[in-house]
């Protein structure tokens, strides 16, 4: 048997204990988990950061934080059931203990967003990390000129945060518009989908028709599946998002360590976990395999 000291954990690889407080089903595949650190401290994150969630026996998985730090010491993670660890997580009951390392990564550049018209674009699961920024905007509306949320999902069943989407639509500080590639006719306990249908970029024309976006007054943030970035960027450019520091995006990679050591998230010379996951477009656009 391995010999270990009894000193308290002090490695960069030691997870901190935290407790599951609340679980909510978002879709058949996704759940929202609310945790609190067992030592009572706040996670201390900023919008756009991620944690390494640890379950003994199943190693760790990088999960972006789905809530804003302005909402108190508890933190929320929206997780799709895709692998062994996320599958086990989906089985957990309130009160269960897991481990957390982090927060890690470069957050959304709030300073750069200050005072601007924000276009926040999410595709699929990308709404979870973007929600941390949306909530922040909701809580600090005075910091931004305007906030336009645009969200696209594959089917009406896959829409995340359905209630919140409606709340954001009705918020005096936010605008929100969403669409699905495919409306799925009936869902047992759900009302039929009556929202927009089509590609996310189809929404742009209507939303942007009276907008004049300049480098000084606006900034777009994109979080989505790999296939979404290029078409969305191309479309944004048509509406004036052409300057440096005008498009910010968050990339997803399979980070194993979160701290720039394991090598799993490299994009050429960059480490997605420490140099990102949030990047300015111009930092990664020419890097092979980034987008």
């Amino acid at each position: 048997m391995q010999s270990f000291s009894n000193k308290p954990a002090q490695s960069i690889y030691s997870p901190r204990g935290c407790t599951l407080l609340h679980v909510e089903e978002l879709t058949p595949q996704e759940k929202l988990f609310r945790f609190v650190l067992d030592d009572g401290s706040a996670l201390g994150h900023q919008p756009g950061q991620f944690v390494q969630l640890s379950i003994a026996g199943l190693t760790e998985a990088p999960i972006s934080i789905a809530g804003s730090p302005t909402r108190g010491p508890q933190f929320e993670l929206a997780v799709r059931n895709v692998g062994t660890l996320t599958g086990a997580l989906h089985q957990l009951q309130v009160g269960a203990k897991v481990g957390i390392r982090g927060p890690f990564g470069r957050p959304f550049d709030l300073a750069a967003l200050q005072g601007k018209h924000l276009v926040l674009i999410a595709g699929g699961c990308g709404l979870a990390p973007l929600r941390s920024l949306i909530q922040y905007c909701e809580d600090r509306p005075q910091e931004f000129a305007s906030v336009q949320i645009i969200y696209g999902a594959r089917t009406s069943h896959c829409l995340l945060f359905k209630e919140e989407l409606k709340a954001w639509q009705n918020s005096p500080h936010l605008s929100c518009c969403y669409t699905v590639d495919q409306a799925v006719p009936d869902c047992d306990h759900d009302t039929p989908y009556d929202g927009e249908q089509g590609l996310i970029t189809d929404l742009f024309e209507h939303l942007f028709e009276r907008c004049i976006f300049t480098a000084e007054n606006s900034c777009a943030v994109i979080v989505g599946p790999p296939a979404m970035y290029r078409p969305v960027i191309e479309e944004l450019r048509r509406y004036g998002f052409t300057a440096p520091r005008q498009i910010m995006l968050s990339l997803e990679r399979k980070m194993r360590c979160g701290i720039g050591k394991c090598g799993h998230c490299t994009i050429e010379h960059l480490y997605c976990c420490t140099d990102g996951p949030v990047f300015w477009l111009e930092e990664v656009e020419t890097l092979r395999g980034a987008l």
Binding site: S5, G57, G99, P225, K254, K261, H264, E268
Partner: protein
């Protein structure tokens, strides 16, 4: 500090070092390869006829494996939720017999793991460890005259084998010891002073030794940075890759790892283990998306990482030209082989 040691002095030094360090020495193994193995003590060495193999071919296993082993415990998670970390080593390591390339590799990996946040698991093994370089007339003859170029730093002590004298026996071999820091001085203060003139001669000889392969790497690096190498080249090279991972596993500057949990009733041992970017699953995500999802991209990354990405990030090419990947590759597409082909084909 410069000292002069006989073989007997050297053994005496090793015996003393072994009291405070886990001293590993180049040792000849059954199949004829040289590995860093525990110093048995000069008495035991005499009795068992075990002679440290101070001269010969490069050490087979990359020396960085002693600080970043193939299986490396990170934390232990107990069922009650508490977490413990590995105890620090009872004695630090002393690695003797590293050549210039291996020392450069340790220096690179030191820098990599020390970058914030510093990797405590690496540093627990590395901090306080002693590095003893080896150079001079103790090579395998592959450069013609058994001469290994001087490291001139990157270690605590450098042992430089002097030119063997025909009449003298192995036991009478003379060594110059260059000491680069206070720790080294503490161990070598008692020995006789060495001749600066002789050291200068050896240095001169080092400088005049060819840098052909260095130049090759730099040429290849420039071609890659200038985007002069088409994908068809990588397709061709990668079609010869049989996905053994050897190039990564033997590379002394490769640091990629994955994490494994092993659970018993006592708790979960979480360890990191060497990974290989030549595996399809290296970057594959649960969704199936894979930024390194083709052989072409993986082979390209293997070379790019050392010749383009690391220079961008760390300011230097991270191939130290130790030759291990070229020796370990079952199909002949190690770093030097690929660079030769690349430079030959794409230099206009």
């Amino acid at each position: 500090m410069l000292k002069q040691l006989t073989q007997q002095d050297l053994f005496e030094l090793f015996d003393r070092l072994a009291e405070q360090y886990h001293l590993l020495m180049p040792t000849l193994l059954t199949d004829g390869s040289r590995e860093l193995m525990p110093w048995p003590g000069s008495k035991a060495a005499a009795i068992d006829g075990i002679i440290p193999s101070m001269a010969g071919e490069p050490i087979q296993r990359k020396p960085t494996s002693h600080f970043f082993p193939q299986t490396d415990p990170l934390v232990f998670l107990k069922p009650d939720g508490t977490v413990s970390v590995p105890q620090p080593p009872d004695k630090p390591l002393a690695l003797c017999g590293l050549n210039r390339e291996d020392l450069a590799a340790v220096a690179f990996v030191d820098r990599f793991f020390s970058a914030e946040p510093a990797d405590d698991v690496y540093l627990a093994k590395r901090s306080g460890a002693l590095l003893i370089g080896l150079s001079g007339h103790c090579g395998d003859g592959s450069h013609g005259d058994h001469f290994l170029p001087l490291a001139q730093g990157l270690c605590d002590i450098e042992l430089i084998a002097e030119e063997p004298n025909e009449e003298k026996k192995e036991q009478e071999k003379q060594w110059l010891a260059v000491v680069y820091n206070a720790v080294g001085e503490q161990w070598l203060s008692g020995f006789a002073a060495g001749s600066p003139q002789r050291l200068e001669l050896l240095r001169h000889k080092s400088v005049t030794m060819g840098h052909q392969q260095q130049e090759l790497l730099q040429q290849a690096s420039r071609l890659l940075q200038a985007d002069q190498v088409p994908d068809s080249f990588w397709q061709e090279i990668s079609s010869r890759c049989i996905r053994c991972g050897g190039c990564n596993f033997v590379c002394p500057t490769c640091t990629c790892f994955c994490v494994q949990d092993r659970t018993t009733t006592a708790g979960t041992q979480r360890s990191r283990i060497w990974d290989s970017c030549q595996l399809d699953a290296f970057m594959r995500e649960a969704s199936g998306h894979n930024p390194l999802g083709t052989e072409l991209l993986r082979t390209r990354r293997r070379i790019h990482h050392k010749l383009v990405d690391d220079p961008k990030r760390w300011g230097e090419i991270s191939c130290v030209l130790c030759g291990r990947c070229d020796r370990a590759c079952p199909t002949g597409i190690g770093m030097v082989a690929v660079c030769e082909e690349l430079v030959r084909r794409f230099t206009s």
